[in-house]
Amino acid sequence: MPFDQRHLLGIETLRPDEITSVLDLAEDYVALNRQSDKHADALTGLTQINMFFENSTRTQASFELAGKRLGADVMNMSVAASSVKKGETLIDTAMTLNAMHPDLLVVRHPHSGAVDLLAQKVNCAVLNAGDGRHEHPTQALLDALTIRRAKGRLHRLNIAICGDIAHSRVARSNLLLLGKMENRLRLIGPPTLMPSGISDFGVEVYDNMRDGLADVDVVMMLRLQKERMDGGFIPSEREYFHRYGLDADKLSHAKPDAIVMHPGPMNRGVEIDGTLADDINRSVIQDQVEMGVAVRMAAMDLLARNLRAHRAGAA
């Protein structure tokens, strides 16, 4: 099971066989999580600190549960962005934490690259739980696992990522992962929400949902942040929903068995029609949440193995 990483900072540095390792191990944890006794001991004796400089309920809960199920001592630190003056104490916080000898550090931060910076200053394994607009690797891995289970494979699929690509770390990590696994990618959204240099990414770009969704196997919707909704990037929520919101009519252009994904939390009636989101025949959104716990267990397990091997080698 090849996995040679010290940290999980992004998809960019992962090889395809390492991605497969995480997904394969996660399958075991999916099975475990469905039993009534959900305990394993992969992280027994290790300390996991979840440090969130940006508010998150879902991701933090998912990491917390993953750590607890593997037997780690888990501590949550919510460092609201307001109390930490724009990352000024980031290094200090890292040094302080480091002195407490954590083994796994799960970090979310509003600035791109902040988790990389922190990882340079600590002695433990660092997991990026989202940094600015940069990467959110565990989200891409859980999406990959969801796709692989629904489609039976993770290559040669037509996959559309729709919505606010420009500000989305989920989109970046997914682009990297799905590209590495040799899928055909399409980005669909208004030009105001497309990142610059998009023509150099080796993807197809559409500003029309119906054209972009034609014959795709997977439709990944992105959350539109509230602060982008009015005036600045799009004229209004209702026009956005009309042109870019996923509904049954737009989805009818995709393959009949296309699955619908969303990283959550959803804005029903903005980027996705509520009924469609709940349609168990098309939507795999609940599966994504389930896979999230399993993938995070797998990622932390693999990192902990490397950490223990490294410490054994150093001793």
Partner: protein, 428 residues
Amino acid sequence: MSDVLFTNARLIDPEAGTEFLGWLSVKGGRIADHGNAHPHAIDEPAQVVDAGGKCLAPGIVDLGVKVGEPGERHKESYRSAGLAAAAGGVTTIVTRPDTDPTIDNPETLEFVTRRAQEDSPVHVRPIAALTKGREGREMTEIGFLKDAGAVAFSDCDHVVHNTKVLTRALSYARSCDALVIGHPQEPELSRGASATSGKFASLRGLPAVSPMAERMGIDRDIALLEMTGARYHADQITTARALPALSRAKANGLDITAGTSIHHVTLNELDVADYRTFFKVTPPLRSEDDRLAVVDALRDGLIDILSSMHTPQDEESKRLPFEAAASGAVALETFLPAALRLYHAGHLDLPQLFRAMALNPARRLGLDAGTIAPGAPADLVLFDADVPFVLDRFKLRSKSKNTPFDGQRMQGRVLGTWVAGTRVYEAT
């Protein structure tokens, strides 16, 4: 102010655009003569310097150096900046007014002038702010400041938003025959940006600005020059898109010159790599295509001046996530070795480099410097253009060590620096 005779020197003459093996004599702090045959007998030279075939060039005139006085002396003082300059072959530093408080009144200007005279071994010429507090609302006392020694007027990286304010400042500056230095950048488009838009910035998830913002900035300023006839210098042109506008403005006879920074001609956006904040500068590093276009413009003389844009920042202000980190790099000591990369890569010859680093800035600011012509002040740099070394930032004389060239292989180092005939630096 001793008399010196340099022999066996590779003389770099940016005015004539030539270099030749010869001698140069200094008398009374000024260049007495130079030639390529045997030196005339000069009356008992106090000192003979055998250059051993190394390069002797006019000292560098560095336009746009940030010294931390007043306000941020812990980042750079006149003493540390002056020592760094001397070690870098820079004999005149032209300082920026983006201090705290801003150098926007004659009293502050007199303070920094006095501090510079007390502490700096090289010449210091100050730029004063164009508007009070660099806020873009009211013009400074351009006349008084000029009388007090300001060689130019600039709000540095604060673009004067209000075109009416800028128009009046340009018109008034013209009446004082004062040079205005602008920062060509569309301020709204570039707000908050820490990278140049494109694939790299998108992959790194950094807020980015299109190179078009620079062209819009220069277009606006050129239009106002047509209106006012002011003397204008664009501090940094860093993109290919801004060059045609500059070329047209020059062809149309406007009194405009342009500069660029050493970092924009030797580095590109990819050097930022994994969020290395020492590579964060303003404007952000550009694409390789832009870099090459700017290098060409520098060689062809469309871009007149090459500056270090020396900007000291302490460790704390750089040890932050990229977006939040301070901008700028120290460069006085790395300026010449970095510029020599252009020489070694075959882009510019040495006279062309010193035209951009010494002659043109001196001419534009009306300074008696930048040349080896007889009668000029003996501000000189002796350097070996070829010797290789690996840069160690902790050996820099600047108080701040934020250089992007740390650990990099460089070629060329300063052997000695003379200001008005007095040796102010000697390599050990």
